[in-house]
Symmetry: D2
Subunit: 360 residues, 4 copies
């Protein structure tokens, strides 16, 4: 008799949702993907080929999927705008929830979901920050914990996407996407902010936040008050600084780099991005290729995330990632975005309360 496997459904079968579905189907031995939902006929067509034959029941109605017999957990990979609502609906059905980041682009809504989860302490609820499951970032956390760099003091982190200069789908997509993404700091730098909370501790209190941006290659972003290159700085009250760079203009591929400077040492992650272990020597020099997107960099992290979430559900152990951070990271991202748009510094007292009115 086989051991019980977690009965999982995936909501949303777009870019991220489909990847989550395939991960739960193929790479999470302790889970069984039993159901999948999408409101998009096109996505359901894809699922008929790639999921249904493997015993996955397809739904075009999210609420109906939640009624799937024996369902225990839902992985939410739909559009950000419905993350919160779907998470709450799943919790109301007493289902564990793994929700793709961010819970919402609005801090208040994020907080609602976290508050809701607090009322259901028997449920495992997690917001997916894939870097938390990446072997290199974990190695850094262990080395910091072991005291190898003294006190982490300066954190520099960047999330940089490849630019598609042909002006085709991807570019248009990102411009349209800006309308509801929450902006470059909420959409992209939220990962760097989450790393900050990890390595500096989630109790850090901002003292001031500033941010600056330019629109260099995607003029369409302007009407959404967004930027294709942005730099932000956060001063914390305990004598630390984090600074971020987000860009959608990289020519060579995905380049997510993090550097943590301590009083006794320094650690870097992915300073020299690479697709694989090949170097090509030619008349122009020596060239290595770079992953084209975040999937090329973090695929294994997503697999670990799904496995660890499954383990927490089955074994009733804590999820590996404090749920409350999901609010804090979005809150900081939103402040950075506000500073970016207003061009004005935001200040906080030592309790974390803003000392000026919103600039917007």
């Amino acid at each position: 008799m086989a051991l019980h496997k977690l009965q999982v459904a995936v909501a949303g079968l777009g870019r991220m949702g489909a990847r989550h579905a395939l991960n739960f189907l193929n790479s999470v031995p302790r889970a069984e993907l039993v159901a999948a939902f999408s409101p998009e006929p096109k996505e359901l067509e894809w699922a008929k080929v790639h999921l249904e034959p493997f015993g996955v029941t397809l739904y075009s109605d999210y609420k109906k999927m939640l009624e799937h017999p024996g369902l225990e957990a839902v992985c939410i990979g739909t559009a950000t705008s419905v993350h919160a609502e779907e998470s709450i609906q799943a919790m109301d059905k007493n289902l564990h929830v793994l929700c793709e980041k961010p819970l919402s682009t609005t801090v208040k809504v994020c907080q609602d979901v976290v508050d809701h989860a607090a009322k259901k302490p028997h449920l495992k609820v997690m917001c997916g920050f894939s870097r938390r499951f990446d072997a290199s970032y974990r190695d850094v956390a262990e080395k910091i914990e072991a005291g190898k760099i003294g006190r982490p003091t300066i954190l520099r982190s960047q999330t940089c996407d490849k630019h598609d200069p042909s002006g085709t789908f991807t570019t248009r997509f990102f411009v349209a996407y800006a309308a509801w993404s929450g902006g470059v700091f909420v959409d992209m730098s939220v990962h760097d902010i989450d790393l900050t909370l990890w390595y500096f501790g989630s109790s850090v209190v901002p003292k001031s936040i500033s941010a600056y941006g330019v629109v260099a290659v995607q003029p369409g972003l302007k009407k959404y008050n967004d930027y294709d290159n942005a730099v932000g700085i956060i001063e914390f009250w305990d004598g630390r600084i984090a600074h971020y760079y987000a860009s959608r203009m990289m020519p060579h591929g995905q380049e997510d780099v993090t550097e943590i400077i301590g009083t006794k040492g320094k650690l870097t992650v992915n300073l020299n991005p690479q697709k694989n272990l090949v170097n090509y020597y030619h008349s122009g020099g020596v060239t290595r290729e770079v992953p084209l997107d975040y999937w090329g960099r973090f695929e294994q992290g997503f697999v670990s995330e799904a496995n660890e979430f499954t383990k927490a559900c089955l074994d009733n152990t804590p999820v590996p990632l404090e749920f409350n951070n999901a609010v804090k990271a979005v809150q900081i991202g939103a402040w950075l975005q506000e500073a970016l748009i207003s061009g004005k510094q935001i200040k906080f007292d030592e309790s974390g309360k803003r000392t000026e009115k919103s600039n917007l």
Copy 2:
């Protein structure tokens, strides 16, 4: 109704066998691990914890396992000495076979297995050379195919294991292992030889073979006519050279490097070995860690191997790796080992026939 999954058994649950079993159990969505065999009580104890709960039937008798109802394929990860016999027995039961390398340390026995397989063309029979399934080596193959380096002319390849200077288990293991491993060129360099057959083409004909070795850190190897560091060169009749280095003395970890120099470009794989994407900056400089063993380097390759073998069985497509190469690689390894022990060059005519008597 779920699609049919390949019913697989794994033979041998030692270091490699256990890894194969876990791969088929957890990382091969189209396969179902239904049975496992080991003659070792200790290995079966392990399997009771890690395999049996997931529906895997355990056997201490290989032949009985072959009778497991519905069994379709066997993955053989036992000691090299029984690879050939077990492969043949499985084929006689009309089971597909994925056999860990090498089929045998004896060329004749390898050839017997290949001949046997030739009589069962409906069966998928594959000898596992993990590097064939590694993303970087495959990228190299594609770039060569695309003409990026002109004609591949010089191949340098090394398989280098970490040395355990404490003289504990690993070291003693490798010394004892030398008694029946076939020697450093058959045991280690066989991977580099296989890469040569891949990148130069499997029809290359050796013109001469030379090899030299030293015993630098494991004096016990001498009584087995083996070495802990060895260099070998093969000249081919079509104007190409391959040279190999095998070592069990690396201080820092596993370091398997390959360099292919063509008339118009050069490609390297893993010239700068690395465990992950972290660099540590300290008062002594900048340090990166290195995988400690082949598993740290090739884990994903083994997963791909199992998946592709499964696909070939289920879809009745060719296995991705010509079975005959398994004989050829061992043959060349054995010649290198002979040259190493005798200290004499081995020569061949253009048809590949040796032009002198064996030196041993």
Copy 3:
């Protein structure tokens, strides 16, 4: 008959002055070091051994040195506080001047020197920014010029010194030095600012300037309003951003890194600092060493600087570095330092005029 060599004197024989003197003595074939000045007996002792035997006349009085028969040029490497005065005195004697950076820590004084030089157009007057003479930075300038990265848009540059955790000389030196160095942005980042003027063009107009710092390892800095780690951002009116990091806390050595991101490509300089071409493989991984100070990184740049200044004097060609930049770089450094100390953003209108009162 040998060609005429430029008759050069060096003022100041401390850390930098001595290096300039040895460069002019040994590595500038078209110059002849004829005189050297220091107010410090200890430095003159050094000069008696290392300069005097090679025909260099020593002076303890700067003005007397300026009267040295046949003198044509002075290289000023004294303390920053006398750079301006000594430069003007030399110009008044119609001598060419190569002055170590900065001309002064005060913008007004810098401007005075530049204005003075403007009245003596027959003289070659140059402020030494060593990176302008470094082969890698020049390669970057050429690649930008050639259009390889499109429009340079984001510049990240850092000047990071090795920290001496023993609390001995170097540390105490830097703390005391902070009293008159102009602060971390004037002392260290002035190089990064100069690179910005080089790669973005010297006509860029700041829109806003912000900066933040921490005192992490040298508490003594606080009383001088200085910091051992500082981050600064400059927004420019033409849609570009430069951000800087300065640190005196590196554990591993000197690490001056520059990254220039354009609309079509990216260039980095010294992303992976290294002392030489050696890698050391040991049980902890693979380690490379890093230059311990700026001299280990830029020694060749200083040699080129001295040679090119000499050439400009002898051949009456323009100096390779616009003198006016020396004011502009210090001005921007001073603004960054003001923003750092005040914690307030500084803003400018499109003509470059400040739109608020000074925050200090």
Copy 4:
């Protein structure tokens, strides 16, 4: 009164000679270049512009140059065929000698020069092996001396030149050059052999020597019994192995790599060749350029060589490089070349005496 400077002449003003002349003229503060010789009118034309104006007397007759008043030392950079004769003539005039490698392509002639020098112990006589003066190779020597890698056991070293696929001057030059260069192992690998004598000790005794080559891109080499790619192995009696690769087919530039594997650690030099510290990120990945020739890699080494030779002459200290090695390195190179051409292994007894007749 200035200190005495070594009065130096340079013989030969071709590719290497001209570089030596400019080094002594510009970068050796304790030497004065007083004379230069070339038999080639074209080279003398060059010298009239670049040397004569700086007080260098030009000669078209080598013997007359040796009579130059006050001459103390000669740097010989003429064609290899006259190295020996000119060295002996200079010694006969009691002049110190720095001779470009090799002394001769014939072992006997090399030995004659060394024997001749032995009769003039008051003279400083040195054969220039530039890598001995390179900072990275010296760092390796110090680390070995400090015991950082245990006993050096395996040495891999390669000298690889850029290939000029246009078939223009360089290529034709190298083909013609093969007629009198002594072959690829004497001409190129002699540097790698010298490194072996340095790191393993000059008393190592070969046990066997084998070598193999191909002609891949320069068919004209065949008639001179030479190869554009060659691999050689030397076994030493004390349980060490050196293996070499020489190539004139690199697409990307000069690539001289050395790897020394000891019983406790490993060191590499120039594993990742680079022209400078710039990386260029573009749509094809990340590219770094590579020095185009040995000068791009070893320029500073040649400057150090000239300075240290000068110091030894002036201060009457030992030259930094045992003269006898110059014979030993050529001898080993010649044996490798013999093994390459004959395709047969050469063997030696423990005293270093050959145990078979020459194969040629």
